[in-house]
Symmetry: C2
Subunit: 365 residues, 2 copies
């Protein structure tokens, strides 16, 4: 493991600029924001990114640029800035992968519970995939949402989670929803002997997040869902770091980074960065659903969430959408048992939600 | 002013979907995440976005969809989610403009100081543009950076600000840099009788931000720079709301939203949303510099920062880059006096930084 942070950028150079010149510009832009002729040899050697290699790949180029971890100064916001801050405003640059040095991985210890911990929380002893269902829609009362929680828990769903648009709307205020939904799940578990978990959506103004986190713990929840791109990545990292809760990361607002020749590869952002900031599971829009990720992206996200990465625990991929419940077995074969399958719309389309959820749950056992 | 939040989306429909169908999908996706057939008439009427109009415009369509402010639940993160959360992961959707209802503007009161307040802070009585210069590069010691501050303040620059990559690196730790830079500017002001301000870059892990904000105030600074897309928009809103500091917003990491047929229009994100969360000035990459915004974008950003918007004060546009100091007069004519011109590279290219900054300052007086 090198002691430098190496970023792999995919470059499109259709503006006549040479790939080497474009890589050199990135190395300056992301550190000193000055052209070479304004820099001392010392700053050039110690601070500016070092272009390690530029290779042609198809009709693009891959530039590997390494940075001194000193440039990060021990904090996630400056790491994000180093990765893509100013170059986000240049065209034809996509961050494909990062080789992390140990010193940076120490800043970002990753999930607290990971795949094994979350499976244990759900009382699942064998290596089967978990079933997650979303409670929706926005606009129902807390009591109506709690009734859906009850039915999904009775059906044997492992994790029942709020839809990510459920915040603190007057239709179902956060505190009331939290209490009623957790109570409903607890009562259903008592009835079935099961261990269904309820994960509320944690959102809110910065000042509300900690009080809500405490309410979530006091209500007896073991985890929560958060949207890192909306709340701020370091906000989620901090909340993950200072609570015992399992965290499901939601990809809302992340989609603008996923253009073909600009942004941050989805497997890096959702699969690696979300994992490193502490998500125990990461929701992503599955291929074949309503969103843009393709088969390759989904498999790559799964891989990055699970693969060995220093001392960081593996996290669960949580593909949502695009899955026909009757073919769930094919998806298990494709994605493997360390997956949480998230169902929403396809369950609510069925005439009997409980029966549909029960059928799914039995297929995963 | 309508009491609903109306979002103008530009749609590209080259996948054979009709614009009306695409608009209808957005209205569902951003609220209930369920198809119509799963919804009660009550939820459909009260909660789902309402497609008000879909008009052809060039080779695209503009859909105006209105939402009940109830769906926002009084918080900025859910507002961001409503604007672009899940649809960020669909293709061919760009948020062009928002008609804000009063109830939402009350949540987001905008700049504390605005154009007039910031001009007053700089001791500028006539209606001239302000001059801002960046202190750089990353890698210099706090003492070296402070010496640059001193020279820029002696030259009569109105605001001297940290480069946005200056965080808490060991090369120039935050606290030491803050103290030395502010001292240098204070000493220079004493010598010249001027009122140059020093704005440090406020970054850091969530737990560091408040202590650093206090240090900034104790050091005697009147403002700070922050990068909302990196720190989190509600983090910046909260810090702006709970401090007396003037805030310069930096666009780092915002560029992925600025694709031609996907994302959020730069004038909306930088010109309106950054203003509403409390930025007194917003830095953007000027046309002709190293980045992607064009002339239209820059003028639109200027317009959105300054135009009347309920009780919200106007904020300063802060174009950076792309300006030849010898032609600064043309830029003043183009952008008007309520502009802060930000210089970096072009100053550092000059053989004598102080003389170059002095020449610029005198041209703006």
């Amino acid at each position: 493991m090198s002691d430098r942070l190496t970023i792999h950028y995919r470059l499109r150079c259709d503006d006549g600029q040479s790939p080497a010149a474009k890589a050199g510009e990135i190395a300056l832009e992301q550190t000193v924001e000055l052209p070479e002729e304004c820099l001392s040899p010392e700053i050039l050697g110690r601070v500016v990114g070092r272009v390690e290699e530029v290779d042609e790949e198809g009709n693009a180029w891959i530039a590997r640029i390494s940075y001194s971890p000193e440039a990060i100064g021990g904090e996630l916001p400056q790491l994000l800035n180093l990765i893509f801050g100013n170059v986000s405003m240049k065209s034809g640059i996509r961050v494909e992968a990062i080789d992390w040095p140990e010193s940076v991985l120490e800043l970002l210890p990753g999930p607290r519970h990971g795949v094994e911990g979350l499976r244990r929380m759900c009382g699942v002893e064998n290596e089967r995939p978990l079933l997650c269902a979303a409670v929706k829609p926005l606009g129902l009362s807390a009591r109506e949402l709690a009734d859906l929680c009850r039915r999904l828990a009775l059906a044997g769903v492992d994790i029942v989670k709020d839809d990510h648009s459920l915040a603190d709307q007057s239709w179902a205020p956060f505190e009331e929803r939290l209490a009623l939904c957790q109570e409903a799940v607890t009562a259903a578990n008592r009835e079935t002997g099961g261990s269904t978990l309820y994960f509320p959506n944690l959102t809110g103004g910065l000042g509300e997040l900690r009080p809500r986190l405490s309410q979530i713990r006091r209500a007896g929840c073991r985890g929560a869902m958060m949207s890192p791109m909306i709340l701020g990545l370091d906000v989620v990292r901090t909340l993950a770091d200072t609570s015992e809760l399992a965290i499901l990361g939601h990809p809302a607002l992340a989609g603008s980074y996923f253009a073909a020749d600009h942004g941050i590869a989805p497997e890096l952002l959702l699969g690696e960065i979300f994992r490193l900031i502490g998500c125990d599971g990461v929701i992503y829009p599955n291929v074949g659903g309503r969103f843009v990720l393709d088969r390759h992206d989904c498999l790559a996200i799964n891989d990055r969430l699970r693969r060995p990465l220093a001392g960081c625990l593996p996290a669960f991929p949580v593909p949502g959408g695009g899955i026909d419940g009757r073919r769930i077995g094919d998806w298990v074969d494709r994605y493997g048992p360390d997956t949480i399958f998230l169902f929403g719309t396809s369950l609510y389309r069925e005439p009997d939600l409980t029966a549909a959820a029960k059928a799914l749950a039995s297929k995963l056992r």
